[in-house]
Symmetry: C2
Subunit: 492 residues, 2 copies
């Protein structure tokens, strides 16, 4: 057995254990008895400790050294690149620090929930300061002299640099601000949904949508959870959604979004299963798939025409006269505070705000205690109205509490990638709308499968998008798409 | 940190991982996508390999040596006894042999299913011979010069010896044969259930029964599976049942049976959670709980009186005139071939048959190729009619195919223990029937919790039953109970 083969066998077992650990998370959010939480924390902790021990196993270093000479093709070299990177990252962070972060994150998550419920940022600020200090320490260990924020960002988006994001994001921000201002001057004249939408009918429609968008139910399942998510790789990729009796779009678009994530995982070359290549390559690329399914396809005029008929069939009359009005309702812009409820235009403004603030928190330019004021100032500048309470502002997202710094920008990067892919898809499938208006997603999902999804972790994220679209990714296609779509929906 | 504390911390993590591995099994039987089977096999294999590595970790031996002097109380000494035993067993079986057994068992399980479907024992015999040879090798390694069958039996019933079982079982057999003959002379005059029983109504009733028998739904859940089972320990103990539209008793009594197993796990002293004492102490004691819930309580005249009313309420008229007739239907004896469908009297005859045959297979007195003939001879002797096909005979159970030798006798040992416990319970709660007839199980389940369940693995199985009942366990109470109950139901 070659060193490469030994390393891959070891890695395969690690990947299998990682799938098991991930499924514990699925179980916890869907079917776990409510009294089992404390025991589950120990179970998850034990799995993480097994996985950590494997990631820093000294044999990996020995195998890697010997395997370099044995890696004869691109696939083998890509496997080694992932293994080397993961091993190096795991080795750089001292065990004590990793444990301290895990402990503080668990603590802070609980305190964040209490602070949000009480709308009290001041009490939470010191807890946040502590997790920031620990993450700075981790970032410094990972960066090994380089940029700390980049080192954290790299965890979610390998190869990405804040300076590249800065250029992209500063081009997006003014035009998004202008677009939302123009649109909101016209708001208030939209139709709205009326009536109640039975949860079981929503779930039935969600199942149909999942299949229509290409999700393979034989290798997955759809359940309800408080927060929708997709979980797992290979042949067991599960998704969840939720239902609100007054707002069926919550269920419908959460489902399509998670289907995008899940289809990516399901489409990866099966020969990569249970290897480092057998997972989506980055959060940004993952989000590009969920967002193009949800928005560029799912909220298109063509697809919503078909969806309108499906919804009439499922729910009867819900107070929207025709497909054209329905398209307007699906894409309605409004004033709001919450990122997860935001439309396509304003969503990215939410993300850019968090990106700038978290960079300042990590660099030390902004102190945790000053976050609420900084948030509120920036929000007023971009959205034009004030935040009245922290649960509508800097306490709305859990991310920072659990140590997720460098994660937020991948949301907008995903939207940027989705814009590039959508532009290329429209060129490749000129009659796409004719298909979408009949509820046929195959031409789109097959193009994405063929050009993006099947590669798994083979290429670096940017290279993958460049190869798929024929050009390096920029914000221009996303901006053009948004300005065209919402300019038409909300003419000046 | 003392060696004892270090050992217990290590063990706690092992127990947590073992719970995770067990839950993978639950997932597979209830919610796993059908296309995920191959990946799941790798995931389960990876978990088993992690668990095996921990069981033979050389630090355990060192800790044990140092910890002996530190174990100051009975609980600590019982923990060490379990850890020492598990470690010694794991160390005695060479890794290659354990892997060969796992491989052959997986292979044989598939071939057994095919052989049973084709009613073809001859093709399966060599596969069975191979797993027997491997299990003999394992038994020899475990026995270290002692009796091979006892060494296998010890895996399921610590401390039990075949010579003790022989005495018990040979006293049972003639009286059970006589009792079934007497009863079946009277058979054919019973009422039977009529109509269809909607699965959702069965599940609703099953949930009510589970709660009535004391199952804590906040630390468990009830789902459907092909074969009912209970899974997990501590605060996450899940059960499954199944429904047949024509036979609601399948669902009802499977549920009560699994509730017995689950209540045992749920009642164990919470300070034992995630330690070797935090699980049911043996298969025999486990089965004593499931069987006393199912039979001595669940099929009693008093409880079936209450259940009759519940069933009338759930299903309307099902062709049984009154509670007395219903009691007869619940406890009807009939001619059959299948262990899992057998009544209280004939069930143990099935088990005794398997026990004698598996002892002969392990000792070498019986060759795998001669099993079908030996089975059919013994069946005709005990049941009085011939087996026409192996799916009704020696191919009906999966156990031997997957290497379970020494497991079958724990079923009857459990019934024997249940007989002893029931006798003591009736003395302790003289008005038990008055409670049961009102659907009040608490006096029975509290007595079992207090006298058996809460102890977990603290005592050896025999000692536990002896302490609970005030006398060493014998078959006499079970025989007296069966002869009284079925003598009255089927008078000569």
């Amino acid at each position: 057995m070659t060193s490469f083969a030994e390393l891959m066998a070891f890695q395969r077992e690690t990947e299998a254990l990682s799938q098991v650990a991930g499924r514990l998370g699925w179980d916890q959010e869907t079917v776990m008895p409510r009294g089992a939480a404390a025991q589950r924390a120990e179970e998850s902790g034990a799995m993480q400790s097994v996985l950590h021990a494997r990631r820093i196993d000294p044999r990996i270093g020995e195998w890697l050294e010997a395997a370099e000479a044995e890696a004869v093709d691109d696939t083998a070299r890509a496997q080694l690149r992932h293994i080397r990177r993961d091993h190096a990252r795991a080795m750089r962070v001292p065990g004590d620090l990793a444990a301290a972060i895990a402990r503080q994150a668990a603590l802070a998550q609980g305190q964040w929930a209490e602070a949000r419920a009480a709308d009290d940022f001041a009490t939470f600020a010191p807890v946040l300061a502590e997790i920031i200090a620990l993450k700075r320490e981790e970032g410094a260990a990972l960066a090994a002299g380089g940029d700390i924020y980049d080192a954290l960002l790299d965890d979610y988006e390998p190869g990405a640099k804040a300076t590249d994001l800065d250029a992209m994001f500063s081009a997006l921000r003014p035009r998004l601000v202008a677009l939302r201002e123009q649109a909101l001057q016209q708001a208030g004249r939209r139709a709205a949904l009326e009536g109640r939408f039975a949860p079981n009918k929503q779930m039935k429609l969600a199942r149909k949508l999942a299949k229509t968008f290409g999700y393979d139910m034989a290798r997955g399942r759809l359940d309800k959870a408080v927060h929708p998510f997709s979980s797992g790789s290979g042949s067991d990729v599960r998704i969840t959604t939720r239902t609100s009796e007054s707002d069926p779009f919550n269920c419908i678009y959460s489902t399509i979004h998670e289907v995008g994530h899940a289809c990516y995982e399901q489409a990866i070359d099966p020969t990569y299963a249970l290897t480092p290549l057998g997972r989506g390559v980055s959060m940004g690329v993952h989000e590009s798939q969920s967002r193009i399914y949800e928005n560029q396809l799912g909220r298109s005029r063509a697809l919503t025409g078909w969806l309108y008929t499906e919804m009439r069939y499922a729910f009867g009359d819900f107070g929207v006269a025709d497909a054209d009005a329905f398209y307007g309702v699906v894409n309605a812009l409004g004033r709001g505070f919450i990122r997860t409820e935001a439309d396509e235009v304003q969503y990215n403004l939410h993300v850019l705000l968090r990106y700038d603030l978290e960079r300042a928190l990590i660099s030390g330019d902004l102190q945790a205690r000053d976050l609420e004021a900084a948030w509120n100032d920036r929000f007023a500048a971009d959205f034009g109205y004030p935040v009245a309470r922290p649960s509508d502002g800097c306490l709305q997202d859990v991310h920072w509490s659990v140590g997720l710094f460098g994660y937020f920008p991948t949301y907008t990067l995903g939207n940027v990638y989705a814009g590039c892919l959508h532009e290329a898809l429209r060129v490749a499938v000129p009659d796409l709308d004719a298909h979408l208006s009949q509820g046929r997603l195959d031409p789109a999902t097959e193009w994405l499968r063929e050009n993006v999804q099947r590669y798994g972790g083979l290429m670096q994220p940017r290279d993958l998008i460049t190869q798929a679209t024929g050009a390096a990714p920029t914000e221009a296609p996303l901006l053009a798409y948004l300005e065209q779509k919402f300019g038409e929906l909300y003419p000046a």
